[in-house]
């Protein structure tokens, strides 16, 4: 029982911090599914959403709005900024590059990332802005079972709840709605989708908007945890191994991948760290991703490539 308590605490903490990686990875998956564009700008979108949210929130509270109204208005504003970004990305970056090589599109999103980062910081400022949307205090569970109980951060729980809602919402959107079906059709075959009258511009806008809103959701959680700041962009890099493990085209894969990485790196740090001198957290995810690439390149949940013979 003495060892089980800390183990559970590390495991739960790891799983919940993994959820945060998943939130970023989700945005990637959405865009990749619909346009096979690997969107390097996803991290920049999280930062932009966070900046728009926190700055407008501060401003509104400064004007004396009640907190709930300010939060709602700020969320709407940040959502609007993401819609504008989606429009910009579709109209000026991806639209003109339809049917180009996916590497070309990838390079274009790198450019887009720098534009979003620069523009975001010019407009909204480049300091560290604290955000307090969720409670951040600790919560001690099962004190009667384990000595000292299990310590869980309430913010992480919120992150988990939000990720769960997003996944459920997106799953319904993709599987049950007409637009969702059209999105999957576009993902499968651009030109065939065009031939049945699906307008690609519109679908791409919808998909960038959806991934912008996912970025906003991620920004609320990350922002509360670390403050809204430039380094959020680097956290988005952790989404790559998550995607490789989960599969680039799978929404559930992004979640499971995030959980595996989150739990894995925390457990490795705690149990392997003492033997090899620590610092495992920083590279563990990438090594796991490499192994997955060798064994199962499409990831755990990636779409199998259907080939008829």
């Amino acid at each position: 029982m003495d060892t089980l308590g800390p183990f559970l605490e590390i495991l739960i903490g790891g799983l919940l911090s993994g959820v945060l990686y998943s939130l970023v990875a989700l945005g990637f998956v959405l865009i990749f599914k619909a346009s096979s564009v690997f969107n390097f700008a996803q991290g920049a979108m999280v930062l932009l959403a966070g900046l728009a949210l926190v700055r407008s929130l501060d401003l509104l509270i400064g004007y004396g709005f009640p907190v709930w109204a300010a939060v709602v208005l700020a969320l709407v504003f940040a959502g609007g900024v993401m819609a504008l970004t989606a429009y910009f990305a579709e109209r000026f970056v991806l639209g003109p590059l339809v049917n180009q090589d996916s590497l070309t599109l990838f390079m274009a999103t790198i450019g887009l990332a720098f534009i979003l980062l620069g523009a975001g910081q010019i407009i909204f400022g480049s300091d560290v802005y604290p955000l307090a949307l969720y409670p951040t205090d600790a919560w001690i569970l099962l004190e009667s079972v384990f000595p000292g109980g299990i310590l869980v951060n309430k913010l992480d729980i919120w992150g988990g709840v939000i990720a769960g809602l997003l996944v459920a919402g997106l799953a319904i959107f993709f599987q049950r709605t007409k637009i969702g079906r059209a999105l999957r059709a576009v993902a499968d075959d651009h030109s065939a989708a065009q031939s049945v009258g699906i307008s690609i511009d519109w679908i791409w806008f919808v998909v960038w908007l959806a991934s912008g809103l996912v970025a906003l959701a991620a920004a609320t959680v990350w922002g509360t945890k670390l403050g809204v700041q430039f380094s959020i962009v680097f956290l988005a890099l952790k989404a790559f191994p998550v995607l490789i493990i989960g599969g680039f085209t799978s929404v559930p894969g992004a979640i499971v991948g995030g959980l595996l990485i989150g739990a894995g790196e925390k457990l490795a740090e705690a149990y392997l760290g003492p033997f090899i001198g620590g610092g495992i957290e920083y590279w563990f995810a990438y090594v796991v991703a490499l192994l997955v690439l060798l064994v199962r390149p499409q990831g755990l949940f990636g779409e199998r490539i259907i080939e008829r013979i």
Binding site: N99, R181, A187, D189, H190, S191, V196, I198, I306
Partner: protein, 281 residues
């Protein structure tokens, strides 16, 4: 040698044509001239075939009409395309589908990771009726393709070529088209399946009053089911006429149906054919 008369008249008078293509020129990548002035008419409720060898420009003609050329960096830089009384040159594919002109692409292009039923439903993307109406439409499509109903829940990528072709036609049908541009439905299919698909085309034409423009390499089949045909060679219409006439045409027999009535031909006659083609073009 005999020179059977080729009807110089157009298939229909422009007034009752659902589609008329007037002297279009298509250029890919700004340099490659693929269509060098193609004109054709499809009568309302007719089946018209577009014949020719590989690279003759059949697919390009269809894509120019449905405006799927844009994605392949092709442009129509001359001529006019009138569908159902409206000039549609350079309208988006989305708008054309809404107006009732839909293309079934060469090679079927089903959405492999969607089920057959989902594939069919994507065809109704441009329609904004209620669920009940769409469900009725689905049943109607299944009534033409009972095989698809059996396989409604399997992923399209795992179905046979014939089923995929049916799925592609059924998907187009879901948009309630006035006209279907059908690009090589026979590609890679067993003769029996090809026959089946052409029969369905005939049925759709008869029961649903859907007009067809059919690009085919299978000349025999196309001449059997269509009422009028155009023959394309290197981006030009070299021959056109009612299919009954064309079936009897010596050149068509010789070069497209592989039937020779006069035995072996001399090299000189082959050259004569080529020269005459240049004249016609």
């Amino acid at each position: 040698m005999s020179r059977p008369a080729v009807s110089p008249k157009a298939a229909v008078s422009p007034a009752d044509a659902i589609l008329s293509v007037k002297n279009i020129e298509v250029i890919y990548d700004r340099v490659i001239l693929v269509l060098k002035g193609v004109s054709l008419d499809v009568p309302r409720g007719g089946i018209v075939a577009l014949l020719g060898a590989n690279g003759a420009g059949k697919s390009t003609t269809l894509k120019a009409i449905s405006n799927l050329l844009h994605g392949e960096r092709g442009t129509v830089n001359k001529g006019a395309i009138v569908f159902d009384g409206v000039e549609v040159h350079n309208r988006s594919p989305n708008e054309l589908v809404r107006r009732g002109c839909i293309q079934v692409m060469e090679g079927r292009h089903c959405f492999g990771h969607l089920t057959i039923e989902e594939n069919l439903l994507t065809g109704a993307f441009t329609r904004h009726e209620g669920k009940a109406e769409i469900a009725k439409e689905l049943e109607r499509v299944y009534s033409y393709f009972p095989k698809l109903k059996e396989r409604r829940n399997s992923l399209a990528g795992y179905t046979s070529g014939g089923e995929q072709q049916m799925c592609a036609v059924g998907r187009a049908l879901m948009s309630r088209p006035k006209m279907i541009l059908l690009d090589e439905p026979s590609m890679g299919l067993a003769p029996q399946i090809v026959e089946e698909i052409f029969n369905i085309v005939k049925m759709l034409n008869h029961n649903e009053k859907v007009s067809f423009l059919l690009a085919e390499q299978n000349t025999n089949m196309a001449l059997k089911y269509a009422t009028y045909a155009y023959i394309l060679e290197s981006g030009r219409v070299v021959l056109d006429g009612a299919t009954a006439t064309l079936r009897e045409n010596e050149d068509v027999k010789e070069f497209y149906l592989g039937i020779s009535t006069t035995g072996r031909r001399s090299f000189r006659e082959g050259k004569y054919y080529k020269r005459r083609k240049r004249w016609l073009a």
